[in-house]
Amino acid sequence: MENNYDVIIICFANPTFDARTINLVKTLIKYKRKVALVTPDYDVIPDYISPNDYYKCKINLDQKVRHSQKEFTKSVKKLKLSGKFVHAGDFYSLAAAKFIKMKYKAKLIYDSREIYSQLNSLKDRTFARKLIEFREKYLVTYVDKIMVTADVDAAYLKKLFMHTIPYNIIKNLPPKQELFESNFLRDRFKISSEKIILLYQGWVLEGRGLNALIRAMESIDFAELVIIGDGEYLNSLKELVNKEGLESKVHFTGLIPYNELSNATISADIGIVLFEDTSISYQNALPNKLFEFIQSALPVITSGQNTMREVVENESIGLTIDKVESSDLLKAIQKMSDVTTRNNFKKNILEIRDKFTYETQEIEILKVYS
């Protein structure tokens, strides 16, 4: 067999920033699996995999996703990669992965890290949503195992797909991180030591509560907000900040590579994770940023989705708000401004953070690829 990889990981996301792909590849390599990584060409070279095993597909990314996806599938076919397992890292990689499964009888693993037909970006696009749902239902019939991030996703997809494919829950957990002192954000934005740093990190998209968060900053003098990440909503937020004259309180970093992210995260005081209940995908959200904050020992303020509430309230590591509104956020931030409150949450985080590391899932990952 040509190539003869143990696992071929196909992912549409940028391999430098996509934590889930990075952690998966690293874990498989740790366990001596011969791994190939295939992504669109983002003009980056990931440092966690040998260049010989990284395949980038030159496609036009400046067009509608479905067109890019088709190009990507064609491009992957031309690579003629074979292996025991082919891993579709997202919905957009599934067609390409299906080809390898059919051609080389590889076992197909589908990482349904989101409910793709219920993405927030599709909430007003019924036809597109139905199209994705239809396509996903078809492609899933070729899948041998499905990976999801939480039980609720598995339950939803089981109903949607009506099949008996086994599910494996691989949570969005970050690798175990050593705690260290960092003034990364404080130095970068010249934030005084008296001020608290509120941190949002992740994709900057509509529905992530960022509007309300920025508006809450109008009434706060004891803290500054840093937004790490990029996304289609970034410019709107910058406009809002300018319009409200909040430039001195709200800072944007843009994307930070995953391997440098912890240095920034750990230098904040409070992590913020917000999802508005605008889509099923958001309602079931249990994002990696929550666990990244836990690894960095940051108390958190999160929206009240059951998935997050379960972690935040059961472990007593922060506050949840019922509604993603400025007033609720303001109250939570004010409450969290008390250093004793933060220290109590932090103490709890330090006790439980070992539970929420990617390493705890290694055995589950080995089970998926065996």
């Binding site: 001596k32 051609k103 009888k105 705890t360 080995l366 065996s370």
Partner: protein, 788 residues
């Protein structure tokens, strides 16, 4: 055109290994065949593949008892020419065949044999004049269903018998668009069954008593055969409700009960009548014009594999992967593929479970086509499953092909099992060695270690991945918990530095599984949580947790002083100080004597009352008693209801405090009077209701230099009363306020009882001041001297 019903029982057969490709058919001579008209159905008994039956026109049934090498033929009904469409045996001797009179399409008939097909009796449901009968199926020797219809496609009838055809019940259905039933099957264990008619598949869940439409198959075209497995159906079709349109023929394949249907339409009146499903994606159909089509991809592709066949066909049946039968104008069976093709190679491929094997052939150029028994094409085939695989390289299906056989075998599964060097509970500080068998080629622990063992010091999940001598990777995991030590700590419950003869109570701060107390001489003195110690020295507690983890407390030094109490008091806990009986609403004070029995002065300390509700202790300005001097102090008693009252007085002393009980009785008072009618009345009091009670001690210390306080006890009914305590100087000017500090609250049905102190830190100059207590409706003042 002849309409033929074909029938298959694939359900009782094992799943066939797919060696269907490139079968060659050979014609079989049927002895005694008296009619040259076509055979319409073929059936072999699953439990004995030597027993087979075929039936057809002119009431003709042939049977074999040697797997088809030799046949005998009988006429089922000498008086009628029955077009026998279906034949089915439930056991070697008992079987049924059904069909319709060729001369009268409304004369359906069903016959039963109890001697393996040699003789038959007519068991038709009713007079054979009103309906046609097509297929029948018996799920045991006596119980079965026959499908029938009235004229054309109007009414559908399910006849059912449970007594071998002695009597029948029937269920009739009409479909608006018209249809015609042809075939039926019922699972004798579950009662679930399906039937097929033109354009529809039916289902029953009660052994055929009731039926309903399960799904539609498309246009109302004649579908003569029911062949299904779970949700997969392979359906032969002929155009028109009865297949008599002389239009197209074809086949349908669905794997999801009709939600999606792959159809292949054959033009030129090539009607299809028989079908056989190998598995959920592979099967056959046969029909007119020597058509024997095979698909192995759920109907996406079909290939006519009819080498050796002439004429029209009506039914097809496979006993196993090399033995198939197809009947029609003639009877054919498959020839063993290895007889008609050439076996080139036999290879064995070993793989680890979970791996994919590439099976590769290199046929000569003159055999450009390749097909694998698992439906693959091309010279390479990938599989992750063990088993036998066969590839055919050929130029055309009827030529001799090269056969390449492969056997894929899994290497043995050597799954590691992590063994622990200790089966006991582990404690922090322990070390444990995890091991796996040593025959593996390599090891990889999640810690990065690559040895066959791992020494572990910390709690966590440990994973080992092993590579077997064959190169197969497996893993095992174990969770190791090192339990924390119990961390014992000694708490003194009573005063240390006590007088000789007294004792101290030491207690473990936390609960533990086992306690071991050691004295100064390292002797084990107790195994209880609490110990009483009289001797001076260091004491240590060694505790053991439920997991066997042991830890020691730090030493606790018990100090004993050589001294004795100074005071003598004539009352004790058991020998109480008793007040004279008090009348309700009155108050009394009585004196208690204290004697300094030592030859040195002794300053009396604050005398405390435990409850301080009905009894009042003396103020804090207590005297100093000279050697052997006796003093008295006063305890007051006031009850607000009748009954017995009790409190405990504590008087501090050098070594240990003195305790004694005070008690008193409040008696009711009686009120006697005469009513207007000179009737005497007597009232007895029970309780005095007070809305608010505030009792306070004298200020202390008195004189004071900087801080001063008063103790208070306050009963507050439900309405709240806020007492204020101020300091006034001798001129009546308010110079300060005392802060209220609550030490305890008790709640009662009629209010709450609160105790505590009013305290102030003051810089007032030396002088006489007054503590003024202000309530809602009364004010009380108490003098105090402040000295600087």
């Amino acid at each position: 055109m002849k309409i033929k019903i074909l029938y298959i029982i694939l359900f009782l057969l094992p799943i066939l290994v797919q060696s269907q490709w490139l079968n060659k058919w050979e014609k079989v001579n049927i002895a005694g065949r008296y009619s040259q008209e076509a055979y319409l159905d073929v059936f072999f008994l699953p439990s004995n593949r030597n027993l087979g039956w075929i039936c057809g026109f002119n009431s003709q049934v042939s049977f074999t008892t040697d797997g088809g090498d030799n046949w005998e033929t009988v006429r089922v009904d000498p008086n009628n020419n029955i077009q026998l469409e279906s034949i089915h045996f439930t056991s070697p001797n008992i079987g049924y065949t059904s069909g319709t009179n060729s001369e009268n399409s409304l004369a359906g008939a069903i016959y039963k044999s109890i001697d393996g097909g040699r003789t038959w009796v007519d068991i038709s449901p009713m007079l054979r004049q009103f309906y046609s009968i097509w297929g029948c199926y018996f799920y045991d020797d006596n119980s079965g269903v026959a499908v029938a219809g009235l004229v054309g496609c109007d009414t559908q009838i399910f006849f059912k018998t449970t007594n071998g055809g002695q009597s029948w019940t029937q269920r009739r259905y009409e479909i608006r668009s018209g249809t015609k039933l042809s075939d039926v099957h019922i699972d004798g264990n579950t009662g679930y069954g399906q039937a097929i008619s033109s354009g529809y598949v039916w289902e029953t869940t009660d052994f055929g008593d009731n039926w309903e439409i399960d799904f539609t198959t498309g246009p109302i075209d004649w579908a003569e055969e029911l062949a299904y497995q779970d949700s997969s159906f392979i359906i032969p079709i002929a155009e028109g409700c009865q297949g008599d349109f002389a239009g197209y023929g074809g086949m349908l394949f669905t794997t999801d009960k009709g939600k999606t249907i792959q159809s292949k339409i054959l033009e030129n009146t090539v009607n299809m009548y028989g079908s056989f499903l190998i598995n959920k994606t592979s099967g056959w159909v046969c029909g007119f014009d020597k058509s024997v089509y095979f698909t192995c991809d759920a109907g996406n592709n079909w290939e006519n594999l009819n080498c050796g066949i002439e004429g029209d066909l009506d039914d097809i049946f496979f006993i196993d992967d090399t033995t198939g039968w197809v009947v029609g104008d003639d009877v054919y069976r498959t020839r063993n593929v290895t007889e008609v093709n050439k076996v080139i190679s036999r290879d064995t491929v070993y793989i680890c479970r979970g791996e994919v094997a590439e099976l590769k052939i290199q046929p000569p150029d003159n055999l450009p086509k390749t097909v694998w028994t698992n439906c693959g094409r091309g010279n390479s085939y990938y599989t992750g499953d063990d088993g036998e695989y066969r590839a055919f390289a050929y130029a055309s299906p009827c030529d001799t092909a090269f056969i390449y056989d492969f056997q894929v075998i899994y290497y043995p599964d050597y799954t590691p099992e992590i063994q622990s060097s200790s089966s006991n509970y582990l404690c922090e500080g322990d070390t444990i060695r995890l091991t796996v068998d040593t025959f593996y080629q390599s090891y990889l622990w999640n810690t990065g270690d690559t040895t066959s063992y791992l020494d572990v010091y910390e709690s966590g999940n440990y994973i080992v991945q092993t590579t077997s001598p064959d190169g197969c990777i497996k893993f095992d995991t174990t969770n190791i918990v090192f339990n924390p030590p119990p961390k014992p700590n000694i708490l003194p419950l009573t005063k240390n530095n006590f007088c000789i003869g007294d004792s101290i109570i030491l207690q473990s701060e936390f609960d533990h599984h086992i306690y071991r107390w050691y004295n100064n001489a390292s002797e084990l003195i107790s195994n209880t949580k609490t110990i009483t110690v009289k001797d001076e020295g260091n004491y240590k507690l060694i505790a053991e947790s439920e997991f066997g983890c042991i830890d020691s407390s730090s030493s606790y030094f018990v100090s004993v002083i050589i001294d004795s109490n100074r005071l003598s008091i004539e009352y004790t806990i058991t020998n109480s100080f008793t007040f004279d009986t008090l009348t309700l609403g009155k108050k009394t004070c009585q004196k208690v004597r204290i004697t300094n029995t030592s030859n040195v002065d002794y300053q009396l300390q604050l005398i405390k009352l435990r409850d301080k509700y009905y009894f009042a202790a003396p103020p804090s300005d207590l005297p100093k008693l000279g050697p052997f001097e006796t003093a008295e102090f006063e305890i007051c008693f006031e009850g607000d209801s009748t009954g017995n009252f009790e409190d405990i007085v504590e008087i501090p002393d050098i070594c240990s405090p003195h305790f004694f009980t005070v008690d008193g009785v409040v008696a009711p008072f009686n009120f006697e009077a005469l009513s207007k009618c000179d009737v005497p009345w007597t009232f007895t009091s029970i309780r005095i209701d007070k809305k608010h009670i505030f009792e306070s001690s004298a200020p202390y210390p008195n004189p004071s230099n900087s801080s001063l306080a008063i103790s208070y006890m306050e009963f507050t009914p439900k309405e709240n009363v806020q007492m204020k305590v101020y300091i006034y100087d001798s001129k009546g000017i308010r110079v300060g306020e005392l802060e209220r500090r609550i030490s305890g609250i008790e709640y009662y049905s009629n209010g709450k009882l609160e105790r505590g102190e009013y305290i102030a830190e003051t810089n007032l100059p030396t002088g006489i001041y007054f503590i003024v207590i202000e309530g809602n409706d009364n004010t009380e003042s108490k003098p105090i001297v402040i000295t600087r």
